[in-house]
Symmetry: C2
Subunit: 192 residues, 2 copies
């Protein structure tokens, strides 16, 4: 019989990040995490495939926030307006309440090259998801891919800033500021 553990997933996440920061990611085992959370390894594996997934769980719902915003945008929007809507919607996922966790998570990733590879892949799949959503809205290639990659680049830059210890602004405010700066950086006039 499986015993229901209230809040087990959150407790495991809290325990894992504390141990990753204290002992190092490589040095922490699933057994350590379960013990720290006062739970069994079996309970751990009901929630996470492995310890890495504690840091990367939720990737699908994270991408869905961007994609759903593109799907929900009114007709007649330009590719850049669509991707801007997606970036602004990301604030729903990366809320102020989430920021302390995200900062700790980033410290663990910054200390581990293998996790940096996984994180970079997560960024790449965001570009793929934005591209697919733009194509679904009728944006042709290569415009869809280009807009998607630039949107993901702005998100990455804003997200890094959002994680900075002294940064107080919400993510969408940082993203909109960066989009404005990007417009100012681009050469004006007709394309060559």
């Amino acid at each position: 019989m499986v015993r229901w553990e209230p809040g087990a997933k959150d407790r495991l996440q809290t325990a894992a990040i504390a141990l990753f920061l204290e002992r190092g990611y490589e040095e922490t085992t699933v057994q350590d995490i379960a013990a720290e959370a006062g739970l069994t390894e079996r309970t751990f594996f009901r929630h996470y495939a492995d310890k890495r997934e504690v840091l990367f769980n939720g990737g699908d719902s994270y991408r869905a926030v961007f994609v759903d915003a593109i799907r929900a945008a009114p007709a007649g929007r330009t590719p850049f307006e669509l991707v801007t809507a997606a970036l602004v919607a990301a604030e729903d996922f990366f809320s102020p309440e989430r920021r302390p966790w995200s900062r700790k998570r980033q410290r663990v990733i910054d200390a581990n090259p293998a996790l940096q590879e996984r994180e970079a892949r997560k960024r790449a799949t965001l570009g793929d998801a934005l591209d697919a959503a733009l194509v679904e809205r009728g944006v042709p290639e290569p415009e869809a891919r280009l807009t998607a990659e630039v949107g993901a680049a702005v998100f990455t830059t804003a997200f890094r800033q959002w994680l900075a210890e002294d940064e107080q602004r919400p993510l969408d405010e940082i993203e909109l500021e960066l989009l404005a700066r990007l417009r100012a950086l681009m050469p004006v006039g007709a394309p060559a």
Copy 2:
């Protein structure tokens, strides 16, 4: 005594990619690669730390092509002109002669999620290298990071197109076309 093997590194690379495509990356061992190349495992390890490095060797010289172009650009260039110079210079690395190898390499990577993580990380370090080179040229943050990430996004999109089987144009031509399309996509006028 170490026996010098003429062209050993290239022979190992050719043997490795043939086996990765034929048997699969995971199924191919260093022993297999060395045997296919008519060389010893010891010779393999003089050139590569492991089989993954056959695919990712040269990452430093690849980044250097971009960075050197930014360093060598005349004074007074805008951030976007600097990153455009870097993108155009990448043609020196991704030459027409390299294209058949790059296409095979991409097929191996596309079939393996762990290699995709490593490849995504390579893309991320390009953004970091461009950012550092722009800062060195006096571009302030966040403009340097933003320009670097957008430059890396354009490169990634162009590189993907360059690898397409039916694509004949050189990389720099594709990059310049995408930069022109990007300018056309961006909203014109003063930043909000």
